[in-house]
C-alpha cells in the first residue's frame, strides 16, 4: 500500500466529488475489521481508501410501518444494543452475538459484513431467512434495491458496482419473532469463524411449513437460501418425517468445500443436524 491515499466524505455530495476525481482503484472502508487485515496482508492495494464512516446518516436502526431498516454503518454492537432488533428480529440478534468478539463488534458494521461477502458472513443467514433487501447508492444518487439472495456472486464478490455503496438493509418485521432460530457451529464457542451456520424462520403458528425460509452460511461459495428444502418443507406435513426428509435434501442443496476448518463431508453432516435442531426450536417458539 505504498501509494495509498485516504478520503473521508461527510456527505453523499462529497462522496460523489471523490468518485469524479478518483484515479485508479478505490476501496471502501467502514469499521475496517476486514479491510485492514487485507491491506496489511497485501491482498488488496487500492490507490484510494474511501472511509464511509463519516456518512453519519447511515447509522440507525428503526422500525417504520412493519419494516425494520438498519443503516449500513450500524455496528454489530449497535444491533446488539437495539431494543427493536432484540425484541422483533431475534434471529439477527442471535447471529450478531456470534460475530467475532465484542472488540470486533464495536467497529464492524452490518454493511461491511455483507459487502465483504465472506461465505461465512455471520449476519447473512439470518438476513436471508428474513427475506432482507439491500439498498444501495451509486454516484449522483442512483439508487437500487437488491434482494439479498441475489447480492452475493462468489467468495468476496458481490453485485455492487465500483461506485456503489450499501446504504441500508431492510426486511419486513417477522410476524412471530419467536418462530425462528439461528445456529452456528464453529471450532469453539467464542471468537470463531463458522464451520456451518443456519437460520430458520417460520410463519406464525399453523399446521404447515408454508412460508418457511432457510439461510445458510459457510456451506457454499456464498451465503445461500435453501429453496429446494423450503419448497419440500411447505409441500409436506409439519411432522418429523418431513423434517427428516428435508434434512436429507439439504445435504444435496449445498456445495461445501473442505478447508482448514472442516471437510466438505463433515459440513454436510452437521448442516443436516443444525437444520433439524433449528427447525425444532423454531416450531417450539425459539427454544431448543
Amino acid at each position: 500500500m505504498t501509494q495509498m491515499e485516504y478520503a473521508k466524505p461527510r456527505s453523499f455530495k462529497e462522496l460523489d466529488g471523490i468518485f469524479e476525481s478518483a484515479k485508479g482503484p478505490l476501496r471502501f472502508i467502514a469499521g475496517g475489521t476486514n479491510v485492514v487485515p487485507d491491506l496489511r496482508a497485501g491482498t488488496i492495494s487500492p490507490r484510494l481508501l474511501v472511509d464511509l464512516s463519516g456518512l453519519k446518516e447511515m447509522a440507525y436502526i428503526r422500525e417504520v410501518k412493519g419494516e425494520i431498516a438498519i443503516g449500513a454503518l450500524s455496528t454489530i454492537s449497535d444491533i446488539l444494543a437495539s431494543r427493536v432488533i432484540c425484541d422483533k428480529a431475534p434471529l439477527l440478534f442471535q447471529a450478531a452475538r456470534h460475530l467475532g468478539s465484542p472488540l470486533t463488534r464495536n467497529r464492524a458494521t452490518i454493511g461491511g459484513n455483507l459487502a465483504d461477502a465472506s461465505p461465512a458472513a455471520d449476519t447473512a443467514p439470518s438476513l436471508l431467512a428474513m427475506g432482507a433487501m439491500v439498498h444501495t447508492r451509486r454516484r449522483r444518487g442512483k439508487e437500487r434495491t437488491i434482494p439479498l439472495d441475489r447480492f452475493f456472486l462468489g467468495p468476496n464478490k458481490t453485485i455492487l458496482a465500483k461506485d456503489e455503496i450499501i446504504t441500508r438493509i431492510t426486511f419486513a418485521k417477522p410476524k412471530d419473532p419467536s418462530r425462528g432460530r439461528y445456529l452456528k457451529l464453529g471450532l469453539r464457542n467464542a471468537m470463531t469463524i463458522s464451520v456451518a451456520s443456519l437460520a430458520v424462520s417460520l410463519e406464525p403458528e399453523g399446521s404447515s411449513f408454508g412460508g418457511a425460509r432457510i439461510g445458510l452460511g459457510a456451506v457454499a461459495p456464498t451465503p445461500v437460501r435453501a429453496y429446494l428444502v423450503e419448497k419440500k418443507l411447505a409441500s409436506g406435513a409439519m411432522d418429523p418425517k418431513n423434517i427428516e426428509a428435508c434434512a436429507q435434501l439439504i445435504t444435496k442443496e449445498i456445495s461445501p468445500i473442505s478447508d482448514i476448518r472442516a471437510s466438505a463431508d463433515y459440513r454436510k453432516r452437521v448442516v443436516a443436524v443444525l437444520f433439524q435442531r433449528a427447525i425444532q426450536a423454531a416450531v417450539n417458539g425459539g427454544t431448543p
Binding site: 485516504y6 496489511r40 467475532g100
Partner: protein, 170 residues
C-alpha cells in the same frame, strides 16, 4: 505517502499528528506517543492484546487506522489511573485477585473490562465471559480475571434492573 493531519485526544492530552493513511492506531500510540501498554499480538484481530478505548468502547487498535479515528477520545491503560497516581478500581481488583501472571494481556484485559463496566456496573459471570472472549491470556489465568471483574461490579452498590438488550454508552 501523503500525510494526513490527524487530531487524537489520548488519555486527556490532545495531539496533532501528520500520519500516513496506513498508520495503525496501535503503532501511533506505541511509536509516536510512547504509550506501550497496548501490545502487538497477532495483528489480525484474533488475540485482543492491542485493545484500547475509542470514544468509550473497546476496539482493536491494530485493526484501526489512526486517520479513521480523527477527533476521537482514546484511553489506554496508561490513562486509567487518577492524576495522583492511584489506580482505577478495576486495576485494584486485578491486583487483589492475582489476575496477572506474565502481564502481557493485562492492559488489554483491564481495558476490555472497563468497556463492560462503563455500560453495565454489575455484570454477571456469563456477561463477563462473553466480554473477554476476544482477549486472550496465554497463561490461562481466566478464573482470576473473571473474579476480579466480578468483584468490581459487586463493589459498585446495589445492582440495577437490567433490560434485555445489551447496554451501550454513547
Amino acid at each position: 505517502m501523503k500525510k494526513t493531519e490527524v487530531c487524537l485526544t489520548v488519555n486527556g492530552v490532545t495531539h496533532h499528528l501528520g500520519l500516513s493513511p496506513n498508520a495503525l492506531l496501535l503503532n501511533v500510540l506505541r511509536d509516536e506517543l510512547g504509550l506501550t501498554g497496548a501490545k502487538y499480538g497477532c495483528g489480525t484481530g484474533q488475540c485482543g492484546l492491542c485493545t484500547v478505548l475509542v470514544n468509550g468502547r473497546a476496539v482493536l487498535s491494530c485493526l484501526t487506522l489512526a486517520v479513521a479515528v480523527d477527533g476521537a477520545d482514546i484511553v489506554t491503560v496508561e490513562g486509567l489511573s487518577r492524576p495522583d497516581g492511584s489506580l482505577d478500581p478495576i486495576q485494584e481488583a486485578f491486583l487483589d485477585h492475582g489476575a496477572i501472571q506474565c502481564g502481557y494481556c493485562t492492559p488489554a484485559m483491564v481495558i476490555t473490562a472497563k468497556d463492560l463496566l462503563n455500560r453495565n456496573a454489575h455484570p454477571t459471570e456469563p456477561e463477563i465471559r462473553e466480554q473477554i472472549e476476544g482477549t486472550l491470556c496465554r497463561c490461562t489465568g481466566y478464573l482470576s480475571i473473571v473474579r476480579a471483574i466480578k468483584s468490581c461490579g459487586d463493589r459498585a452498590g446495589a445492582p440495577a434492573p437490567r433490560p434485555s438488550p445489551m447496554k451501550k454508552s454513547r
